[in-house]
Amino acid sequence: MSTALPVLKAEDFTSDQDIRWCPGCGDYSILAQMKKVLPEIGVPPEKTVFISGIGCSSRFPYYVNTYGVHSIHGRAPAVATGLRLTRPDLSVWVITGDGDSLSIGGNHFIHLLRRNVDLNIVLFNNRIYGLTKGQYSPTSVEGQITKSTPMGVVDHPLNPISVAVGAEASFIARSVDSNVKHLAYTLKRAAAHKGTSFVEVYQNCNVFNDGAFAYAQDKATRDDATIELEHGKPMIFGKDRDRGIRLNGLSLEVVDLSQGKVKEDDLLFHDEKASSTLVYMLSRMRRPDFPEPIGVFRDVLSETYEDAVHGQIQEAVQQRGKGNLQKLFSSGDTWKVGA
């Protein structure tokens, strides 16, 4: 008799629902990579739960054949926290967007990260409100012309990675929808991390904000416009890998490696365990002054929220014994009436 575990395939995670995203949307790519990665993670569909809020990205749970909750705007982190706290046996994913998690749900987002609940949150950042048809989002760039900003956005955008660093998230990463290999790798890393794993995905909305991340997507530009973070390796980028990032005092700078004046050893070596100060500096690397980092910014181990919570429950049981209602009701001062 064979006792081998059944091998899961992408089809095992494919639901019978029609997908209703616009043709050409970056979401398709993220869904495809997720379905590719899920069998590799090895958690069966019935032990996997996808939770989302509101927005285009938040339709995601309907398209994977797992358990799922399509909740209300911005609240997926809270729903997921309650589920994961009570069911630590489940693998929980939160799917959200830039409006969902950084605008209406900003509060829940930072509290999820600082608590370090062991779940994965994937933020589809397209710098626009898609489902409501084209208003600017909290990650829209200054000057961006949208349906609600005909003269350009005047808000200063939030940087999701910086916010995550500020909340001291234990796993922070960024990937790009079209960079499928990197995306699959990043999702797997997120799943493997114990604690809250936060992944920002640059995602193209081809209807309302087409090309917002073209620089990071197009083969012609992406090597110069982005830099891949690799743990323990010097920070080098460029089509010809001839430029690097160096730490100069309390600032980062782009240096030229082609002249031989600056050597690889002079560069900043990426360290996923580095202090949050350094991670914050990486998160501020923005075009056009810097290439934008892609990869795992931070991966550190700290106690998960549910471990701490259940640890206290176990401790209470050990110290006082399993609760007894009758004893509790009869504790303290009581008196008898009648027979």
Partner: protein
């Protein structure tokens, strides 16, 4: 207070009781006493009141309490804004309210005196700490003249006690700081009150030594000394001619304890969890007057209770929804402003058709309103405060002890019908207390909850919205092989749960969700009426006004008035026989601590021309005002008066 007998005897002996004086004073037996203890927020009046309550309960009296304190934690010392009070009625008969007017008032400073004196009956006992009536104290209370010198004092039996100095003298041997010594004066006052009502000090001594354990035994000993000094002082001074005795009340036989409303709510949740074989996930955000439920529950981690103090009200209810999806007993609590924030998520839970308890401990509104005062003005909010057609069952506790029962009924409904249920309490019953017959846990029937493990659709995918005869859907939980399904806030096709914008399906789903709520009436007992089953006047009440309404109706009945009481605990759906009951009376009076919210529901539902008696002053009803209203509305009362005049 009615005097029953006067006899000369020493107070009940007790091993730890202070020694009796050489010439014991006489003891007057009375059927009941209402006393209010008031002072500065920092004077320990709530502690004093709680101890007097517990001690009176242990003496077998029936009790009802009314703690009344400001929203500010420490309002400026000595000011009127900082006055904190605790009223307790203890009696040898059943009591359902803390009493309308006071037989005795203990006032620790001028501000406390002037803000509470109006409630003291003429001839009532007034005990003041005369050391705190100096010029500076009068100034803080914004008084030009010392109220103790006013001619109005002749209306009361004023006893001036130099509490501060006497306490200082009593605890001198312990070498406490001036501040520490001063703090002992509430125990001196307690000793005096205990002597006055023949209370046994043993349980308070246990409390003192429990509280000041771990190296603070000096404080424990000092407080005990202050307590005994207060007792001895009562025995000694001439001004207090006699003490009082209130015999034990005739309660149903059983073992009793004192219980506070919020505590009863927490314990009811524990009971509901045990009965349904579930563990509690309790999520809330601190808010007055609901926070004590959180404080209580977080003590019971050894019952498997997981308490989650969320980042806001919305996260609290949403995390509870997540836990419910996972198969846990999910609970969130708040008060009016927090419920407003939870509104959208309550709609989601209703749409997902998941069991959830939403407990609203009402306070004075609107907006931030009167956080520490009571009101019943969230009824329409919880009934209708959601977008779309989103009815939910609404239940309301009627007394502190009833919180224990109602929350279990709510959990039964939530699980049998698969929907969120709202439980209403209010600041008055949440902080109030009463004797509670300890239930036999082994006799509590189970609340049967099942989670399917088999696919309910032989033709294909599991159908999360396939319903039973009550229209409840199955509660399949993650981790169950083959039953994977998605739920969400979008309208869904009945049965499959797939997103559906079909017009007929939407109509069908709205109807089903409404019918499901209506089906709750099938699981609940019919409404009972206290008093004549038909006739001239029915008083219809709900929630925390039960005690006042019942007492008023009973008083009116004693006066020969034809009046009955129907106190409803189920506000949505109404009990199935309520319409029929209403039709049996000529008039219906609905007293509420709001501007007529139940009245609006009753009038629209049953087309009954109900009359309201409405008040929003942050205080519970006085029995007398209800009796007056009942009298005014009944011909029988007028007849009786006419007859007695004629004869």
């Amino acid at each position: 207070m009615s005097t029953e007998a006067t006899k000369s005897s020493a107070t009940q002996p007790s091993a730890t009781q202070p020694s009796a004086s050489a010439t014991p004073k006489s003891v007057k037996t009375v059927s009941g006493i209402t006393v209010r203890l008031c002072g500065d927020s920092g004077d320990g009046m709530q502690l004093l009141g709680t101890q007097l309550t517990n001690t009176s309960a242990l003496a077998g009296n029936d009790i009802a309490t009314f703690p009344d304190f400001p929203a500010e934690i420490r309002a400026p010392k000595g000011t009127r804004a900082g006055v904190s009070g605790f009223q307790v009625q203890f009696a040898s008969h059943e009591v359902h309210t803390p009493g309308d007017s006071l037989d005795a008032l203990v006032a620790m400073n001028p501000a406390a005196l002037v803000t509470n004196l109006a409630d003291l009956v003429k001839g009532g006992l007034l005990i003041v700490n005369e050391d705190s009536f100096e010029d500076k104290d009068l100034k803080l209370a914004k008084l030009k003249v010392n109220p103790l010198d006013e001619p109005a004092m002749e209306n009361y039996r004023l006893v001036k006690v130099s509490m501060t100095k006497l306490t200082k003298g009593a605890v001198a041997e312990f070498g406490l700081s001036v501040k520490e010594a001063d703090r002992c004066k509430n125990f001196f006052a307690m000793g005096l009150v205990y002597w006055l009502y023949g209370r046994n000090i043993d349980s308070t001594l246990r409390f003192i030594h429990g509280k000041f354990a771990d190296g603070k035994s000096v404080l424990a000993n000092a407080n005990e000394k202050a307590l005994r000094a207060g007792w001895a002082y009562g025995e000694t001074i001439e001004a207090l001619g006699h003490s009082y005795n209130v015999e034990a009340a005739e309660l149903k036989s059983g073992t009793y304890r004192n219980i506070i409303g919020n505590q009863a709510m927490a314990w009811g949740l524990l009971a509901a969890a045990q009965r349904s074989g579930k563990e509690i996930f309790y999520a809330s955000y601190p808010i007055t007057p609901a926070s004590d439920i959180l404080h209580e529950l977080c003590k019971y981690k050894n019952f498997g209770v997981c308490t989650f103090q969320a980042e806001d009200e919305i996260a609290a209810v949403c995390s509870a929804i997540g836990a419910s999806y996972g198969g846990q007993m999910a609970v969130t609590t708040s008060s009016g402003p927090g419920i407003a924030l939870k509104t959208e998520a309550m709609g989601l839970a209703m749409m997902l058709e998941l069991p959830l308890l939403v407990i609203d401990v009402q306070r004075g509104g609107p907006s931030t309103g009167l956080p520490t005062k009571t009101e019943q003005s969230d009824l329409l909010q919880v009934m209708f405060g959601r977008n779309g057609e989103a009815p939910l069952p609404v239940l309301a506790a009627q007394s502190p002890g009833d919180c224990f029962e109602i929350v279990q009924e709510a959990w039964m409904l939530a699980t049998q019908l698969m929907l969120p249920v709202v439980v209403l309490s209010d600041g008055y019953i949440a902080n109030g207390s009463e004797p509670w017959a300890i239930p036999d846990v082994s006799k509590m029937p189970p609340i049967v909850v099942t989670h399917p493990t088999e696919n309910n659709n032989p033709d294909g995918a599991y159908m999360p919205y396939k319903r039973n005869e009550l229209l409840a859907r199955p509660w399949a939980i993650p981790g169950t092989e083959g039953l994977m399904h998605r739920v969400g806030g979008l309208e869904k096709e009945d049965g499959s749960g797939n997103i559906s914008y079909d017009p007929d399906n939407h109509q069908k789903m709205v109807n089903i969700r409404a019918q499901k709520v209506a089906n709750a009436a099938k699981l609940l007992p019919p409404q009972q009426v206290i008093g004549p089953q038909s006739g001239e006047l029915l008083v219809l009440s709900w929630g925390g006004t039960y005690g006042a309404c019942l007492t008023a109706v009973q008083q009116a009945q004693k006066e020969g008035i034809s009046v009955a009481l129907a106190h409803i605990r189920y506000l949505n759906p109404f009990p199935s026989n309520l319409g029929e009951i209403l039709s049996r009376y000529e008039k219906v009076l609905i007293p509420e601590l709001n501007m007529g919210q139940l009245r609006m529901l009753i009038r629209s539902r049953y087309l009954v021309d109900a009359v309201g008696y409405n008040k929003v002053k942050g205080k519970p009803f006085a029995v007398s005002e209800l009796v007056e209203k009942i009298t005014e509305m009944t011909k029988s009362a007028n007849h009786k008066t006419a007859q007695s005049l004629a004869s």
